[in-house]
Amino acid sequence: MADADLKALTGGLELPDFETTAFTTPPPLAQATVAIVSSASLHHPDQDDFAPTDTGYRVLEAGRRDYMCGHWSPNFDATGIALDINTVFPIDRLDELAAEGTIGKVSDIHMSYAGNQFDLSGVRMDSGPAGAKLLRDHEVDVVLFTPV
Protein backbone atom coordinates (compact mmCIF):
# COMPACT_ATOMS: atom_id res chain seq x y z
CA MET A 1 0.00 0.00 0.00
CA ALA A 2 1.38 3.38 -0.97
CA ASP A 3 0.02 6.88 -1.20
CA ALA A 4 0.37 6.91 -4.98
CA ASP A 5 -1.87 3.83 -5.26
CA LEU A 6 -4.65 5.56 -3.37
CA LYS A 7 -4.32 8.74 -5.39
CA ALA A 8 -4.54 6.65 -8.54
CA LEU A 9 -7.86 5.20 -7.34
CA THR A 10 -9.38 8.66 -7.60
CA GLY A 11 -8.17 9.18 -11.13
CA GLY A 12 -11.47 8.18 -12.67
CA LEU A 13 -13.61 10.54 -10.64
CA GLU A 14 -15.67 12.94 -12.70
CA LEU A 15 -14.55 16.47 -11.95
CA PRO A 16 -16.97 19.40 -11.86
CA ASP A 17 -16.74 21.74 -14.79
CA PHE A 18 -16.90 25.51 -14.40
CA GLU A 19 -17.48 27.47 -17.58
CA THR A 20 -16.05 30.62 -16.05
CA THR A 21 -13.72 31.23 -13.13
CA ALA A 22 -14.94 33.78 -10.63
CA PHE A 23 -12.17 36.06 -9.44
CA THR A 24 -12.25 38.42 -6.48
CA THR A 25 -9.38 40.82 -5.90
CA PRO A 26 -8.41 40.77 -2.22
CA PRO A 27 -7.20 43.69 -0.12
CA PRO A 28 -3.49 43.67 0.75
CA LEU A 29 -2.78 40.54 2.78
CA ALA A 30 -1.48 42.59 5.68
CA GLN A 31 -4.93 44.15 5.96
CA ALA A 32 -6.97 41.05 5.20
CA THR A 33 -9.01 38.90 7.56
CA VAL A 34 -8.25 35.26 6.78
CA ALA A 35 -10.33 32.14 7.44
CA ILE A 36 -9.67 28.46 6.85
CA VAL A 37 -12.20 26.16 5.22
CA SER A 38 -11.29 22.49 5.41
CA SER A 39 -12.85 19.48 3.72
CA ALA A 40 -11.71 17.20 6.56
CA SER A 41 -15.15 17.10 8.20
CA LEU A 42 -13.73 18.84 11.25
CA HIS A 43 -16.11 19.59 14.07
CA HIS A 44 -16.09 20.28 17.77
CA PRO A 45 -17.08 17.38 20.05
CA ASP A 46 -20.31 19.13 21.02
CA GLN A 47 -21.40 19.47 17.37
CA ASP A 48 -23.06 16.82 15.23
CA ASP A 49 -20.67 14.54 13.40
CA PHE A 50 -20.97 14.42 9.63
CA ALA A 51 -23.32 11.87 8.06
CA PRO A 52 -22.02 9.97 4.99
CA THR A 53 -23.72 12.25 2.45
CA ASP A 54 -23.70 15.38 4.58
CA THR A 55 -23.28 18.42 2.34
CA GLY A 56 -23.55 20.90 5.18
CA TYR A 57 -20.82 22.62 7.11
CA ARG A 58 -19.75 23.10 10.69
CA VAL A 59 -18.56 26.43 12.08
CA LEU A 60 -15.25 26.12 13.90
CA GLU A 61 -14.28 28.54 16.62
CA ALA A 62 -10.82 30.04 16.30
CA GLY A 63 -10.25 30.08 20.04
CA ARG A 64 -10.69 26.35 20.48
CA ARG A 65 -8.39 23.48 19.58
CA ASP A 66 -10.72 20.53 20.17
CA TYR A 67 -11.23 19.77 16.51
CA MET A 68 -12.27 16.23 15.60
CA CYS A 69 -11.97 14.72 12.14
CA GLY A 70 -15.20 13.12 10.93
CA HIS A 71 -14.19 12.39 7.35
CA TRP A 72 -15.67 9.10 6.12
CA SER A 73 -13.00 8.10 3.64
CA PRO A 74 -10.48 5.48 4.76
CA ASN A 75 -8.09 6.76 2.13
CA PHE A 76 -6.00 9.24 4.06
CA ASP A 77 -3.31 9.10 6.69
CA ALA A 78 -4.75 10.15 10.04
CA THR A 79 -1.64 10.20 12.20
CA GLY A 80 -0.55 13.58 10.89
CA ILE A 81 -3.80 15.13 12.13
CA ALA A 82 -3.49 13.28 15.43
CA LEU A 83 -0.01 14.65 16.00
CA ASP A 84 -0.62 18.21 14.86
CA ILE A 85 -3.91 19.77 13.82
CA ASN A 86 -1.93 22.27 11.72
CA THR A 87 -1.18 19.45 9.29
CA VAL A 88 -4.70 19.94 7.91
CA PHE A 89 -5.95 23.06 9.65
CA PRO A 90 -3.08 25.54 10.11
CA ILE A 91 -4.73 27.66 12.75
CA ASP A 92 -1.58 28.15 14.84
CA ARG A 93 0.35 29.16 11.73
CA LEU A 94 -2.28 31.81 10.93
CA ASP A 95 -2.05 33.15 14.48
CA GLU A 96 1.72 33.46 14.00
CA LEU A 97 1.29 35.23 10.65
CA ALA A 98 -1.13 37.69 12.24
CA ALA A 99 1.20 38.33 15.18
CA GLU A 100 4.05 39.23 12.83
CA GLY A 101 1.77 41.34 10.62
CA THR A 102 1.92 39.23 7.48
CA ILE A 103 -1.85 38.89 7.52
CA GLY A 104 -4.19 41.43 8.98
CA LYS A 105 -6.31 39.25 11.21
CA VAL A 106 -7.37 35.67 11.77
CA SER A 107 -11.11 35.26 11.48
CA ASP A 108 -12.91 34.36 14.69
CA ILE A 109 -14.73 31.59 12.83
CA HIS A 110 -13.63 28.96 10.33
CA MET A 111 -15.53 26.19 8.60
CA SER A 112 -15.40 22.59 7.54
CA TYR A 113 -17.27 20.58 4.96
CA ALA A 114 -17.18 16.84 4.25
CA GLY A 115 -14.97 16.25 1.26
CA ASN A 116 -16.14 12.69 0.72
CA GLN A 117 -19.02 13.70 -1.55
CA PHE A 118 -19.82 12.31 -4.96
CA ASP A 119 -22.82 14.57 -5.62
CA LEU A 120 -21.63 18.15 -5.35
CA SER A 121 -24.88 19.85 -6.37
CA GLY A 122 -25.88 20.54 -2.76
CA VAL A 123 -22.55 22.16 -2.07
CA ARG A 124 -22.59 24.21 -5.27
CA MET A 125 -26.16 25.39 -4.97
CA ASP A 126 -26.85 25.55 -1.25
CA SER A 127 -24.28 25.07 1.49
CA GLY A 128 -21.41 26.58 -0.48
CA PRO A 129 -23.07 29.95 -1.12
CA ALA A 130 -24.43 29.93 2.45
CA GLY A 131 -20.96 29.33 3.85
CA ALA A 132 -19.49 32.11 1.73
CA LYS A 133 -22.17 34.51 2.95
CA LEU A 134 -21.50 33.57 6.55
CA LEU A 135 -17.82 34.39 6.19
CA ARG A 136 -18.56 37.61 4.35
CA ASP A 137 -20.90 38.58 7.20
CA HIS A 138 -17.92 38.04 9.52
CA GLU A 139 -15.87 40.41 7.34
CA VAL A 140 -13.57 37.72 6.03
CA ASP A 141 -11.56 38.73 2.96
CA VAL A 142 -9.41 35.68 2.18
CA VAL A 143 -10.18 31.98 2.53
CA LEU A 144 -7.56 29.24 2.61
CA PHE A 145 -9.03 25.90 1.51
CA THR A 146 -7.34 22.81 2.84
CA PRO A 147 -8.12 19.21 1.77
CA VAL A 148 -7.40 16.05 3.71
Binding site: A22, P26, C69, P74, T87, L135, F145
Partner: protein, 226 residues
Protein backbone atom coordinates in the same frame (compact mmCIF):
# COMPACT_ATOMS: atom_id res chain seq x y z
CA UNK B 1 -11.98 21.97 -2.28
CA UNK B 2 -11.70 23.48 -5.73
CA UNK B 3 -15.46 23.38 -6.17
CA UNK B 4 -15.92 25.34 -2.97
CA UNK B 5 -13.22 27.77 -4.05
CA UNK B 6 -15.18 28.59 -7.20
CA UNK B 7 -18.35 29.08 -5.15
CA UNK B 8 -16.74 31.20 -2.44
CA UNK B 9 -14.93 33.34 -4.97
CA UNK B 10 -18.25 34.02 -6.68
CA UNK B 11 -19.56 35.00 -3.26
CA UNK B 12 -17.03 37.81 -2.99
CA UNK B 13 -14.15 36.13 -1.19
CA UNK B 14 -10.61 35.76 -2.46
CA UNK B 15 -9.54 32.14 -2.13
CA UNK B 16 -6.47 29.96 -2.25
CA UNK B 17 -6.99 26.20 -2.48
CA UNK B 18 -4.39 23.63 -1.53
CA UNK B 19 -4.60 20.33 -3.40
CA UNK B 20 -2.91 17.00 -2.81
CA UNK B 21 -3.73 15.43 -6.18
CA UNK B 22 -2.34 17.23 -9.19
CA UNK B 23 -4.95 15.97 -11.64
CA UNK B 24 -7.76 17.20 -9.42
CA UNK B 25 -6.53 20.69 -8.76
CA UNK B 26 -5.42 21.06 -12.36
CA UNK B 27 -8.69 19.68 -13.71
CA UNK B 28 -10.97 21.82 -11.59
CA UNK B 29 -8.84 24.95 -11.99
CA UNK B 30 -9.73 26.94 -8.87
CA UNK B 31 -9.19 30.71 -8.97
CA UNK B 32 -5.90 30.24 -7.11
CA UNK B 33 -4.55 26.78 -6.44
CA UNK B 34 -1.38 25.28 -5.03
CA UNK B 35 -0.65 21.64 -5.73
CA UNK B 36 1.19 20.24 -2.73
CA UNK B 37 2.43 16.80 -3.68
CA UNK B 38 2.22 15.39 -0.17
CA UNK B 39 0.57 12.24 1.13
CA UNK B 40 -3.20 12.26 1.53
CA UNK B 41 -4.12 13.51 4.99
CA UNK B 42 -1.16 15.87 5.24
CA UNK B 43 -1.93 18.90 3.03
CA UNK B 44 0.49 21.12 4.97
CA UNK B 45 3.17 18.48 4.61
CA UNK B 46 4.84 17.69 7.88
CA UNK B 47 3.25 17.55 11.36
CA UNK B 48 5.05 19.51 14.05
CA UNK B 49 7.21 21.29 11.48
CA UNK B 50 6.10 24.91 11.66
CA UNK B 51 8.86 26.09 9.36
CA UNK B 52 7.79 23.74 6.58
CA UNK B 53 4.13 24.64 7.07
CA UNK B 54 4.98 28.33 6.85
CA UNK B 55 6.78 27.74 3.55
CA UNK B 56 3.62 26.16 2.16
CA UNK B 57 1.49 29.04 3.40
CA UNK B 58 3.90 31.64 2.06
CA UNK B 59 3.66 30.15 -1.41
CA UNK B 60 -0.11 29.82 -1.14
CA UNK B 61 -0.66 33.41 -0.06
CA UNK B 62 1.75 34.69 -2.70
CA UNK B 63 -0.82 33.61 -5.28
CA UNK B 64 -3.14 36.34 -4.02
CA UNK B 65 -1.03 38.89 -5.86
CA UNK B 66 -1.76 37.28 -9.22
CA UNK B 67 -4.04 39.43 -11.39
CA UNK B 68 -5.67 36.36 -12.91
CA UNK B 69 -6.48 32.72 -12.06
CA UNK B 70 -3.39 30.70 -11.33
CA UNK B 71 -2.41 27.17 -10.29
CA UNK B 72 1.14 26.40 -9.25
CA UNK B 73 3.02 23.47 -7.72
CA UNK B 74 4.85 23.70 -4.42
CA UNK B 75 8.56 23.16 -4.99
CA UNK B 76 9.01 20.35 -2.48
CA UNK B 77 7.51 16.87 -2.70
CA UNK B 78 6.94 14.41 0.12
CA UNK B 79 6.79 10.90 -1.25
CA UNK B 80 5.56 7.71 0.37
CA UNK B 81 7.18 4.61 -1.06
CA UNK B 82 4.90 2.25 0.79
CA UNK B 83 7.59 0.65 2.88
CA UNK B 84 7.78 2.34 6.29
CA UNK B 85 5.77 0.76 9.06
CA UNK B 86 5.51 1.95 12.64
CA UNK B 87 7.46 -0.11 15.12
CA UNK B 88 5.30 -0.56 18.20
CA UNK B 89 5.52 -3.19 20.88
CA UNK B 90 2.10 -4.73 21.30
CA UNK B 91 0.88 -5.80 24.72
CA UNK B 92 1.38 -9.45 25.67
CA UNK B 93 -1.49 -11.89 25.66
CA UNK B 94 -3.45 -11.36 28.86
CA UNK B 95 -6.76 -13.23 28.79
CA UNK B 96 -6.58 -16.45 26.75
CA UNK B 97 -10.34 -16.79 26.94
CA UNK B 98 -10.80 -13.77 24.68
CA UNK B 99 -10.34 -13.63 20.94
CA UNK B 100 -6.73 -12.62 20.38
CA UNK B 101 -7.73 -9.36 18.68
CA UNK B 102 -10.10 -8.43 21.51
CA UNK B 103 -7.41 -9.16 24.08
CA UNK B 104 -5.03 -6.96 22.09
CA UNK B 105 -7.55 -4.09 21.95
CA UNK B 106 -8.01 -4.28 25.70
CA UNK B 107 -4.26 -4.23 26.22
CA UNK B 108 -3.82 -1.08 24.16
CA UNK B 109 -6.23 0.97 26.25
CA UNK B 110 -3.59 2.50 28.57
CA UNK B 111 -1.54 3.63 25.55
CA UNK B 112 -4.65 5.03 23.90
CA UNK B 113 -5.54 6.99 27.03
CA UNK B 114 -2.00 8.36 27.29
CA UNK B 115 -2.07 9.50 23.67
CA UNK B 116 -5.45 11.21 24.07
CA UNK B 117 -4.28 12.92 27.25
CA UNK B 118 -1.22 14.24 25.43
CA UNK B 119 -2.59 15.01 21.97
CA UNK B 120 -6.36 15.18 22.33
CA UNK B 121 -8.73 12.96 20.42
CA UNK B 122 -8.88 14.06 16.81
CA UNK B 123 -9.05 10.77 14.93
CA UNK B 124 -9.47 8.14 17.64
CA UNK B 125 -12.56 6.35 18.85
CA UNK B 126 -15.79 8.18 19.52
CA UNK B 127 -17.32 8.94 16.15
CA UNK B 128 -19.49 5.84 16.38
CA UNK B 129 -17.86 3.60 18.95
CA UNK B 130 -16.55 4.80 22.29
CA UNK B 131 -13.15 3.63 23.48
CA UNK B 132 -14.91 1.45 26.05
CA UNK B 133 -16.77 -0.35 23.28
CA UNK B 134 -13.86 -0.87 20.88
CA UNK B 135 -13.15 -4.45 22.09
CA UNK B 136 -16.78 -5.47 21.48
CA UNK B 137 -16.62 -3.94 18.01
CA UNK B 138 -13.46 -5.90 17.29
CA UNK B 139 -15.26 -9.06 18.43
CA UNK B 140 -18.05 -8.33 15.94
CA UNK B 141 -15.56 -8.21 13.07
CA UNK B 142 -13.95 -11.42 14.36
CA UNK B 143 -17.35 -13.09 14.21
CA UNK B 144 -17.87 -11.87 10.64
CA UNK B 145 -14.47 -13.24 9.68
CA UNK B 146 -15.54 -16.57 11.16
CA UNK B 147 -18.67 -16.68 9.04
CA UNK B 148 -21.38 -14.81 10.91
CA UNK B 149 -23.43 -12.60 8.55
CA UNK B 150 -22.53 -9.01 9.35
CA UNK B 151 -26.09 -8.01 10.22
CA UNK B 152 -26.11 -10.70 12.91
CA UNK B 153 -22.65 -9.97 14.25
CA UNK B 154 -23.58 -6.95 16.33
CA UNK B 155 -21.49 -4.38 14.48
CA UNK B 156 -22.41 -1.20 16.38
CA UNK B 157 -22.98 1.00 13.35
CA UNK B 158 -22.12 1.28 9.67
CA UNK B 159 -19.24 -1.19 9.25
CA UNK B 160 -16.90 1.28 7.55
CA UNK B 161 -17.37 3.87 10.30
CA UNK B 162 -16.92 1.28 13.04
CA UNK B 163 -13.74 0.04 11.38
CA UNK B 164 -12.54 3.62 11.11
CA UNK B 165 -12.99 4.07 14.87
CA UNK B 166 -11.08 0.86 15.57
CA UNK B 167 -8.27 1.94 13.25
CA UNK B 168 -8.27 5.38 14.86
CA UNK B 169 -8.10 3.84 18.33
CA UNK B 170 -5.08 1.76 17.30
CA UNK B 171 -3.27 4.51 15.39
CA UNK B 172 -3.78 6.92 18.28
CA UNK B 173 -2.50 4.34 20.77
CA UNK B 174 0.50 3.72 18.53
CA UNK B 175 1.55 7.35 18.88
CA UNK B 176 2.05 6.71 22.60
CA UNK B 177 4.03 3.53 21.93
CA UNK B 178 6.34 4.76 19.18
CA UNK B 179 9.40 6.81 19.93
CA UNK B 180 9.16 8.94 16.81
CA UNK B 181 6.55 10.72 14.72
CA UNK B 182 5.59 8.30 11.97
CA UNK B 183 5.76 9.13 8.31
CA UNK B 184 2.47 9.14 6.44
CA UNK B 185 0.75 5.76 6.22
CA UNK B 186 3.25 4.08 8.56
CA UNK B 187 0.56 3.83 11.23
CA UNK B 188 -2.00 2.46 8.81
CA UNK B 189 0.40 -0.18 7.51
CA UNK B 190 1.22 -1.14 11.11
CA UNK B 191 -2.48 -1.50 11.91
CA UNK B 192 -3.44 -3.65 8.95
CA UNK B 193 -0.27 -5.71 8.71
CA UNK B 194 1.01 -6.07 12.27
CA UNK B 195 -1.98 -6.10 14.58
CA UNK B 196 -4.52 -8.81 15.19
CA UNK B 197 -7.39 -6.33 14.95
CA UNK B 198 -6.21 -5.05 11.59
CA UNK B 199 -5.86 -8.54 10.18
CA UNK B 200 -9.27 -9.43 11.61
CA UNK B 201 -10.91 -6.47 9.88
CA UNK B 202 -9.26 -7.39 6.58
CA UNK B 203 -10.54 -10.95 6.98
CA UNK B 204 -14.03 -9.74 7.82
CA UNK B 205 -14.05 -7.48 4.78
CA UNK B 206 -13.09 -10.41 2.57
CA UNK B 207 -15.79 -12.59 4.14
CA UNK B 208 -18.39 -9.90 3.45
CA UNK B 209 -17.25 -9.54 -0.14
CA UNK B 210 -17.17 -13.31 -0.69
CA UNK B 211 -20.68 -13.69 0.69
CA UNK B 212 -22.05 -11.26 -1.88
CA UNK B 213 -22.71 -8.25 0.32
CA UNK B 214 -23.14 -4.94 -1.46
CA UNK B 215 -19.88 -3.34 -2.54
CA UNK B 216 -20.57 -0.17 -0.61
CA UNK B 217 -21.01 -2.07 2.64
CA UNK B 218 -17.62 -3.78 2.69
CA UNK B 219 -15.36 -1.82 0.35
CA UNK B 220 -14.79 1.22 2.56
CA UNK B 221 -13.86 -0.83 5.63
CA UNK B 222 -10.18 -0.51 4.63
CA UNK B 223 -8.28 1.82 2.32
CA UNK B 224 -9.32 1.15 -1.24
CA UNK B 225 -6.11 -0.44 -2.43
CA UNK B 226 -6.38 -3.36 0.00
Amino acid sequence: MSTLAHVFEAGGLATVALGSIGAHIGGTAPPRGLWCDFPLGRPLGRPNDAEFQHRVLAHAFSLLSSPEPIVEKFAETIADDGSETMACTLPPRHDPNLHVAVDEANGLRPAYDRAVAKLGNRVGAGRTVSADDIPAAVQAFADIADGTPWKQAGVPGIPARVAQDIRGYYETAALALAEHAPSAWAGTRWFFESTEAGRTIVAARKAMADSGEKHGIWFYITPGDR
